[in-house]
Symmetry: C2
Subunit: 121 residues, 2 copies
Amino acid sequence: MANTKHALFPEEQVSLAAFAGALAHPARIAIIGLLQERKEVCCGDIVKELPLAQATVSQHLKALDKAGLLHLRECGPKACYSLNCEAIRSFCHSFQCTLGTDQADHSAELEPAADCANRRS
Amino acid sequence: MANTKHALFPEEQVSLAAFAGALAHPARIAIIGLLQERKEVCCGDIVKELPLAQATVSQHLKALDKAGLLHLRECGPKACYSLNCEAIRSFCHSFQCTLGTDQADHSAELEPAADCANRRS
DNA sequence: TTGACTTATCGTATATCTACGATATGCGAT
DNA sequence: ATCGCATATCGTAGATATACGATAAGTCAA
């Protein structure tokens, strides 16, 4: 991003953030859904499905590819994309570990003390 | 984002993209890691841990809070944050479904035909 | 009330993102 | 070689993100 300080953070955090960033747009979520459903889709077919111009779709595909989430197969003039399932699984695993969704919910331990009320929320 | 067309996409895709966007920065990943580890941390302690100014940390906390990933408890002048585990679990579940990491790897079905070579990759 | 402390918000500069038309590039067929 | 198709890239405009200093606002203690 702008004047970013990513270099000051651990590699794993930067990597996870990049993965999240690749998914941080509805069009890219939609593209992944299409690839999930049809295994392999060419650029033109994606353009037909999304409310975006061809150049924009190509840009989103490039972003997903740059993040390592796609496989590209070229057949004649067509570019056929599929999911890089292994990479996605790997990222999801790191994600689970970081977000810790498998851990206990600590909310019970965080009952606000009687003398602590909310101010801004 | 800029001149965004999010409104043209299904609500679930927009929602997932927003979740991903909330995690699309190493600082926010780091904050979640801290909250995971210590259950509850106040803003000042996060500032001490990250290589960012207080204003910037506050901004990142706001982004996480806006995405619904945090709980805020105010104790005196301090703002104590903890994870909204329920929300995170919910998002992760949607994530799993969309990314389909539990599905079979189709790469075997996608062996390039003999007459299709790679051009740009 | 004053002062020290904590946090959020404002204002701002810069970089990146989003989106698209136009164009370039590559492929296969004629 | 030329044409038509498919896709990537370029150039650009406008919106958003990142980062920080300065400041506001609120809390507690004295």
